[in-house]
Amino acid sequence: MLKMEKRDRNLLIIVTLMLVFAPFLLNPFPEGSVMAQFNAGYPDLMQRFVIFGIFAIGFNILFGLTGYLSFGHAIFLGVGSYAAIWMMKLLTMNVIPAIIMAIVISGIFALVIGWISLRRSGIYFSIITLAFALMSFALAYSVLTPITGGETGLQPKAADLRILDAPLAAGSTPRANLFGLEMSSSYKLEIGNWLFTFSAGYYIAAVMLLLSFYLSIRIFRSPFGMMLRAVKSNQQRMNYTGLNPKPYTLAAFVISGMYAGLAGGLMVAMDTQVGPERMFWTASGEVVMMTILGGAGTLIGPVLGAGLIKYMENIISKINASILHEWFYWLPDGLENLLVTVIYPFIGKGWHLTLGIIFMLVVIFLPGGLVEGSQKIGALIRRKLDRGKDKAKSSKSTKPAE
């Protein structure tokens, strides 16, 4: 089925199930309980998980396979967003042309930028992409204001052209939709104290993630993917065998740029506005961190990394000192205060600090990211179990007499 190995198929099935049941899985705590703030099952955040998951999967095709570390991938996220919003302004509020246009335009940008920056490798490549990122941000922020809306950004207005759409009813605002199904529409399900929200936008993004994930599996397992790995492990040897690595890396760059464009287009589809800060270089740094945290070069790693960072950004950052005091109220006062002062710098507004520390630890000790970490733990447990079995065996087996 789908021309995949069994292992990959299982992974795809697990991801599909997780995406379908995410509104349940991410909402394990009942409404109104103390733990409810850890619930991540609201549409806005779930969409972000998925969209940044797509972004990171795309980045991983470049960095994970070829080893080229780009610090400018947010350019394509931004370009995709701008393209999508212009389609919404000019053509229709339907998300399909917006998303297609986002992918196409960012692909073209990726082709140009990739063609220039891939002429150098290693640290030079990183710095050129960084320079491109800063340049695009500066341009979007200042000179290109007629196209990008400058600092305020863009959003669809009632007075926009929109050739294909029927004129809006007076007083209504344009909303992103898929053939009439509004992105923001959702179905709420209440079971006991639990409240689950199923949003149309989330499921559309989730379908996109599945497609992207499937495509990334196919790329990873294809001869093309092998070529990209060859670029990473030894370009010189590849040259000697008579292969030119450039077209392969450029293709990987464009593909990952298109993934970023898709993510940008989806961001606009979910929340119809764009600002230049979306392509600031720190946004590029974020996707680098997602990929590394989860595990560069692994299939599922980048998605996990994206989820982890977005979870921290939205949930951990909300915890403040008074909530901490609430948690530890059962401790003696002195101990409570001590614990709160120790923990406080790492959560709430300080979540970046925790992220930075985790990131450093991962880079130092686990170059393969969280995926490698869990594999190592798994192997450790298996070895322990095996040893237990061995012991059981050896104690049973009678020793030959000497």
Binding site: I116, Y124, W281, F359, M360, P367
Partner: protein, 343 residues
């Protein structure tokens, strides 16, 4: 003519900062072969040395001043720095006024220690790893350092004034024989330029004329052979890392009166300094300095009104544009050797 001179002057102070940071980056790169993304954070820590010293010096206790009253008619409470008690009022105020130059003295040992700890504790373990890993771990370190500073000092810029004696302006026009009041330039920025020239020449002199510097240069050229001659080159390189950190820190201390330090000032400078290093040529010290000043001046020329009329927004992108062109046309940079960091 005077307009051109003014633009050159404008470019010099930014160019000095670029040159100093780029010099440190190149020192680290040339000696240890490590790409240090945390170098901007060192610049920022330097700037916060000035902030911290200012805070320590102005620490004081409240005294009721019987001669003055506040708006409610109560006796006014006045903050009196402890320094007044120690040195008397006028001397105490003078010390507070000069807190930024004084911070230079403190920042040197602080930065050297931070640099050595960084090298010994973290970066040492990354010599054998790929450059991408070095970039990533120092990038993470930069974030951690930034967030620590943000936790203690908040996210807002903290104004740190220069001494009153240097906060005025200097009428360049009158001094150079042009019309007075055409080229007026802040004194502190001129001082910054002079300071950076002193530091840069100091580093070059140190490398050229001392035995230590000679060994370091030999190590940069061929580390293995120097090691075989029985010289502990690692120790010296560690010290060079500390020195590079101190240069970045000093650049930061002196920059504090020009731009009020905030926690991400380092990142802003770092990215530009990388571009500077690349334009100058990876591993070339003179190249880094030259490119720093050149790009600073170029940036200020690009922000002249008539240039912006023809090419709007050029000042925002000129540096990156130059960097991209240089990298493509002359990959080794202005003064770099061929093949550095080309894998």
């Amino acid at each position: 003519m005077d307009a051109i001179l003014l633009q050159i002057l404008n470019g010099l102070d930014k160019g000095s900062a670029y040159a100093l940071i780029a010099l440190g980056l190149t020192l680290i790169f040339g000696t240890l072969g490590v790409v240090n993304f945390a170098h901007g954070a060192l610049f920022m820590i330097g700037a916060f040395c000035a902030v911290t010293l200012n805070r320590i010096l102005t620490m004081g206790h409240q005294v009721i001043d019987p001669t003055r009253t506040d708006f409610l008619g109560n006796p006014l409470k006045v903050d009196v720095p402890y320094l007044h008690g120690l040195f008397g009022e006028s001397m105490g105020n003078a010390i507070i006024d000069w807190s930024v130059p004084l911070a230079i003295l403190i920042s040197i040992p602080v930065m050297v220690i931070i640099g050595v700890i960084m090298e010994r504790g973290l970066i040492r373990h990354f010599y054998k790893r790929p450059h991408a890993d070095q970039i990533l771990v120092t990038f993470g370190l930069a974030i951690v350092l930034q967030e620590i500073i943000k936790y203690f000092y908040g996210a807002n810029p903290i104004p740190t004034p220069a001494p009153a004696a240097f906060s005025g302006t200097f009428d360049f026009g009158a001094a150079m024989g042009f019309d007075p009041h055409t080229i007026i330039y802040p004194l502190w920025r001129m001082l910054y330029f002079a300071f950076s020239v002193i530091i840069i020449s100091g580093i070059f002199a140190f490398l050229r004329f001392t035995t230590f510097g000679m060994v370091v240069r030999a190590g940069m050229a061929d580390r293995e052979t120097v090691g075989l001659l029985g010289i502990d080159i690692d120790k010296r390189f560690t010290f060079m890392f500390g020195l590079a950190a101190a240069v970045a820190g000093l650049a930061g201390v002196m920059y504090a009166p020009i731009v009020s330090p905030n926690y991400h000032i380092g990142m802003d400078f770092l990215v530009l300094s990388f571009v500077v290093v690349v334009v100058g040529g990876m591993g070339s010290l003179p190249g880094a300095v030259l490119a720093g000043f050149l790009l600073g001046i170029l940036e200020s020329f690009a922000s002249m009104a008539w240039v912006l009329n023809i090419l709007p927004g050029l000042n925002q992108i000129i540096i990156y544009l130059v960097a991209i062109i240089i990298l493509l046309v002359r990959p080794r940079g202005l003064m770099g050797r061929k093949g550095v960091m080309e894998e």
